[in-house]
């Protein structure tokens, strides 16, 4: 799926791979009963996108130790990018670059090594050709948002809004002190602007593309786009992504998703037979039938890789370059 050039292979590795999960004492600690009244939890520290730094896999200390190195990488990458843009006659203005150099192996390498976070949205939009849609269908998004018709999947959308990035402060604000679960009324009251944008984007999309409507996982794709660009652009990027890069993947019968899984499984079977021996069967130790034409159950897990673009499967800092690679390299 990705480019096949292999020059400079080690250069493709990020200089600071995202922190990996290792089980630790603290996991067990949190399960032990607390004898005394616990102090009020401190306000959770958030990363640059609004996600909690600490997750079930990573402690705050681990995150911040990695972040220090990563920020150094980012500074170096930013200088490189600035130079590249200047050489291409595209010096970034005040608000960051809008245009980027044409696709090339060099750009591919630069993208794989990371792009300044505040430029991501612009780079996604540029390389996916978003501007063409924005210009050609001017007013369409507004028309959809103002449509009196609700798509048939509107209730499903509503159900998933609060289940989209609940660990991100831009989607789910910290609840008022002492409140753990907000009532439906409070949820409405404390809705963030971004969650309201997410609702509009998903409703508009379901109206515009009835073949897909709403499919769980679109909430994560749209939500991620919204973290990096304005609403109307996010809408068109979701459209481009589902039409061009992941065609059929989210459609009603998920047929495209099965095709994706077939390609993945065939590649594993042909290129990584020792892995295939482990995952190609029923995961119950039974013999793997090399000639089977059924998708193995492991695809129930791997399907989300494609459906939600690795969001939730990889750490966010690993997901983000992956999304750009998809826009840049899959055509």
């Amino acid at each position: 799926m990705y480019g096949s050039d292999t020059d400079d292979e080690e250069m493709y590795q990020s200089e600071s791979p995202a922190p990996q999960y290792t089980p630790r004492e603290a996991d067990l600690e949190s399960l032990r009963p607390v004898a005394t009244e616990p102090p009020l939890p401190p306000v959770e520290k958030r990363d640059r996108y609004g996600f909690k730094k600490q997750t079930q896999y990573i402690t705050l200390a681990e995150y911040e130790e990695w972040e220090g190195r990563y920020n150094g990488d980012l500074d170096r990458r930013r200088k490189k990018w600035e130079q590249l843009l200047r050489e291409s006659g595209l010096a970034p203005g005040e608000g960051g670059p809008v245009r980027f150099p044409p696709k090339s192996n060099k750009i591919k390498r630069y993208v794989r090594k990371g792009i300044p976070p505040e430029w991501r949205g612009a780079a996604w939009f540029w390389y996916a050709g978003g501007q063409k849609f924005l210009t050609k269908y001017q007013g369409k998004y507004e028309e959809l948002v103002n449509s009196p018709t609700l798509p048939s999947d509107s209730e499903l959308i509503e159900r998933d809004l609060h289940r989209t990035f609940p660990d991100n402060i831009k989607f789910k604000p910290d609840p008022p002190p002492g409140v753990t679960r907000m009532s439906k009324l409070q949820e409405k009251q404390f809705e963030t602007p971004m969650l309201q944008s997410l609702r509009r984007v998903l409703l508009a999309f379901a109206l515009y593309v009835p073949k897909i409507g709403y499919c769980q996982s679109l909430n994560f794709l749209a939500g991620l786009l919204l973290l990096f660009m304005e609403e109307e652009k996010a809408f068109w990027m979701l459209y481009i992504l589902t039409q061009t890069h992941l065609p059929g993947t989210h459609e009603l019968n998920l047929e495209g998703s099965s095709v994706d899984q077939w390609v993945l499984m065939s590649s594993v079977r042909d290129s990584l037979p020792h892995i295939w021996q482990k995952i190609g069967g029923g995961l119950d130790g039974s013999e793997v039938d090399m000639s089977s034409t059924k998708l193995p159950p492991v695809t129930l897990c791997t399907s989300s890789w494609f459906m939600s673009g690795f969001i939730g499967s990889l750490p966010i800092e690993t997901t983000l370059p992956t999304v750009l690679k998809l826009y840049l390299e899959s055509l």
Binding site: Q216, G285, P297, S308
Partner: protein, 215 residues
């Protein structure tokens, strides 16, 4: 409920495939998270595709049961994948939300499908989740206990009302399933009634500690 005991003092270990089914947002992943990690999040991300988790419980001093759990996405369009979940499943938990009556209809449809298509001897439990909400505010209840219980009895299902949030009845639910499963086939570690052979070894006990492969 009784089941045959091994005549010797030897340890018994059985491994079973369990599948969770039900309408979206009824709390399937939350029930699993409570059972596997004894945790609860008020807001959980929607499950895409499925998640695979394992949990081992001791039924008594000599009997250990390991569940391989397939936690599935609830949206209708994922239904075409369902046979992959319940193929060879020994047991199923069909979940509905006691504050949403339509979710019981969906649960009934799942039970019907399982009884028609899945393993003949599959043990099915019906779980009415979100009990904590009606405990706080009885007017929120949309499915009466007696109604669901009568249906479960008629369809031959185990039945519990649960709260993943407070943990009420969650362990009981899984224990009841384990007790109803055929444990009378003592064998080496990893022996599994019906299938046989070793399961995938996810780094020994690691899998149970994780929230799931989430892959």
């Amino acid at each position: 409920m009784s089941h045959p005991r091994a005549s010797t003092q030897s340890q018994r270990f059985a491994q079973f495939k369990l599948v969770l089914l039900g309408e979206s947002a009824v709390g399937k992943s939350s029930l699993v998270l409570r059972f596997v990690k004894d945790q609860f999040d008020d807001y959980r991300e929607s499950t895409i595709g499925a998640a695979f988790l394992t949990q081992t419980i001791a039924l008594d001093e000599t009997t250990t049961v390991k569940f391989e759990i397939w936690d599935t996405a609830g949206q209708e369009r994922y239904k075409s994948l369902a046979p992959m979940y319940y193929r060879n499943a020994n047991c199923a938990v069909v979940v509905y939300d006691i504050t949403q009556s339509s979710s019981l209809d969906k649960a009934k449809a799942w039970v019907k499908e399982l009884q028609r298509q899945a393993n003949e001897n599959i043990v099915i439990a019906l779980a009415g989740n979100k009990l904590d909400i009606v405990t706080g505010d009885p007017s929120k209840r949309a499915v009466e206990t007696v109604e669901a219980e009568a249906y479960a009895k008629e369809a031959g299902l185990l039945f519990f009302e649960t709260s993943a949030k407070t943990a009420q009845n969650v362990k009981d639910l899984f224990t009841a399933i384990a007790k109803k499963l055929p444990l009378d086939q003592p064998g080496p570690r990893g022996a599994r009634p019906g299938a046989g052979g070793r399961g995938v070894d996810l780094k020994g006990g690691m899998a149970a500690q994780q929230q799931g492969c989430n892959c």
